[in-house]
């Protein structure tokens, strides 16, 4: 029998990855993990390629039972992780024996939790990515009694000292509070807003409940477009800050439609997009203007942390004799 995860409590979860980078060229949003740092860290913690398929769970409790011994790591929004009822740490590799119930419950901070499994999943891909695309009805979703195939049935070593934390890898965790600072660079159409552009930085905005993976809607004092000429549809980046008609600011996230006819006031930096991917409704968001150079420096800091984590994990796994995960298969189609 091939190894699989059997879903006991589906919650609202799906198998995803870092996104469908070729999608926007053919009209599909990039999609993929909304908190890319946590997703990458989860995969690194189990020795996978950072772009390997993993579970993204939104807000609600989930539970599953593997049919083989596996090694998992849970990152992202704070939840209680239990294995057969025993609480286990997030942000560490956690061995799970075949038949044990893995449960995630009681999310207290953030919106999205990631579960990576050593060896990853065997799921269909579209343009080289397994990321769900609700618009075209693609994706591997957690559903009651579903079974999700694992790519590697070979056992990860199960820690014989259950209850003890085997690893102390010192992972930097993302910010998950109820106020957030979001860095933006000036957008290409900032002049359309004339002096009102700086209103963006005057006072905090509140994340609305109408936010999702397509974009976050924020209430507050809005910048106003001053020019009136007709705006032709153009490609818009993930992170675009727009002021559509109505009384909310729109910040596009990874599920955004790839073209839009609204001017781009500002663009959220990649590190702050991760923060927004964890922002709950009512979070107070304060925008800060940064230069492109600063944004690139901030991204590099997180990259160096991930690289250092990978090195530490490699050392630990070598000591423990954990075999490397097979490289992810490539190629589109299922």
């Amino acid at each position: 029998m091939s190894a699989e995860l059997r879903v006991s409590t589906p919650g609202r979860a799906a198998v995803t990855d870092l996104g469908r980078h070729r999608g926007p060229g053919v009209g599909l949003p990039v999609n993929g993990a909304l908190d890319q740092y946590s997703a990458r860290a989860a995969n690194i913690l189990v020795g996978n390629d950072e772009s390997a398929a993993l579970i993204e769970a939104l807000a609600f409790d989930i539970a599953f039972v593997p049919t083989a011994d596996i090694l998992i790591a849970v990152t992202g929004a704070d939840m209680v992780l239990t294995v057969d009822g025993a609480e286990r740490p997030m942000w560490e590799p956690v061995p799970v024996a075949a038949g044990q119930l893995v449960a995630l419950s009681d999310m207290v901070g953030g919106m999205r939790t990631y579960v990576a499994v050593h060896g990853s999943f065997d799921v269909p891909t579209l343009l080289d990515s397994c990321a769900p695309d609700p618009a075209v009805g693609f994706g591997t979703l957690f559903e009651a009694d579903a079974a999700i195939a694992l790519r590697q049935s070979t056992a990860a070593p199960v820690n014989p000292y259950f209850g003890l934390s085997l690893f102390n890898l010192g992972v930097d965790r993302p910010y998950l509070g109820d106020t957030a600072f979001i860095d933006v660079t000036d957008g290409p159409d900032i002049d359309e807003f004339a002096q009102t552009a700086d209103v963006l930085f005057d006072a905090p905005y509140a994340v609305s409940t109408r936010s999702n993976q397509v974009g976050l809607r924020l209430t507050g004092t809005l910048p106003r477009r001053e020019s009136t000429h007709e705006m032709i549809s153009r490609g818009v980046p993930v992170g675009a800050v727009e002021v559509p008609p109505g009384d909310e600011l729109l910040v596009l996230h990874r599920g955004r439609g790839v073209t839009a006819g609204y001017p781009v006031l500002a663009v959220v930096t990649s590190t702050s997009l991760d923060t927004l991917g964890q922002a709950r409704p009512e979070t107070a968001v304060t925008f800060r203007r940064v230069s492109l150079e600063q944004a690139a420096r901030d991204a590099r800091v997180w990259r160096e942390r991930l690289d250092a984590l990978r090195d530490r994990v490699a050392t630990v796994f070598a000591c423990l004799g954990v075999e490397a995960a097979a490289p992810a298969s490539s190629g589109a189609g299922s």
């Binding site: 980078h21 053919v26 009209g27 599909l28 009805g137 663009v267």
Partner: protein, 239 residues
């Protein structure tokens, strides 16, 4: 020879390249040629390109390249482009059968009222042109078409629909499109095609690309049910 472009940074992971000749047709050809040069076969660190009318958004992986490097490549490509050369040497032609009005085109009556035309005159205007596919839009690679010629522009619906079925044939502003996949939408629905447009097993997802041409053909309910589920394919190809 050599195309005029303006490059604008658009966040740390993308640049927007805008054709700046002032000639809309030439600018459209230029940005689509740049998009193709950036993605086929591909340049290291470039994820994809989203060309539209007079602009192309080029998305990069900042861990593998820089905005400055990609901007320089865009300028170099633009330097080599003849803005007058056709986008496609041999555009393919698509014929899209449409059942107009009724439950398949619930907004046809309103479009007629808005434009002051009869429903038949709206249909005739929609059938008249051979449309150039300008770009692919959301959701799922909708072909974005200029036109048809109507006395006034068709406004977007005041309250967008939460569900527009696949195959919907719609209008807004001075544009027309087909919806390859069910999605919310604010355009006016005037008809529906029975053909399947989106193919998730195909690398390009949709059978057409910018620069191909498309025209509509009127069908009745009997033809609709005969054609339902067949794939949209260029003239001369097997369905």
């Amino acid at each position: 020879m050599s195309a005029q472009i303006v490059v604008q940074p658009t966040g740390e992971s993308a640049i927007r390249v805008v054709g700046s000749s002032g000639d809309r047709e030439a600018d459209w050809r230029v940005v689509h040629r740049i998009a193709r040069a950036m993605t086929v076969p591909g340049i290291a660190g470039v994820h994809t390109a989203i060309p539209t009318y007079e602009a192309v958004l080029i998305e990069i992986d900042p861990e593998r390249t820089t905005l400055a490097a990609v901007a320089a490549i865009a300028q170099a490509i633009a330097h080599e482009i003849d803005p007058d050369e056709p986008l496609l040497a041999e555009p393919r032609e698509f014929v899209v059968p449409v059942l107009y009005g009724g439950q398949f085109g619930p907004d046809l009556t309103d479009v007629a009222a808005t434009t002051g035309l009869s429903e038949e005159a709206v249909i005739a205007a929609h059938l008249a042109p051979t449309y150039v596919i300008r770009c692919l839009g959301a959701p799922g690679g909708s072909p974005m078409l200029d036109g048809p010629e109507l006395p006034v522009t068709v406004p977007r619906l005041r309250s967008p629909r939460t569900h527009v079925p696949q195959g919907a044939v719609s209008l807004a502003g001075r544009q027309a499109t087909i919806t390859p996949t069910a999605a919310p939408g604010g355009w006016s629905l005037i008809g529906r095609t029975p053909l399947t447009v989106l193919d998730l097993d195909d690398e390009s997802l949709v059978p057409y690309r910018p620069g191909d041409v498309l025209r509509f053909e009127r069908i009745d309910e009997e033809q609709f049910s005969q054609l339902e589920g067949l794939r949209l394919a260029p003239l001369g190809a097997e369905r």
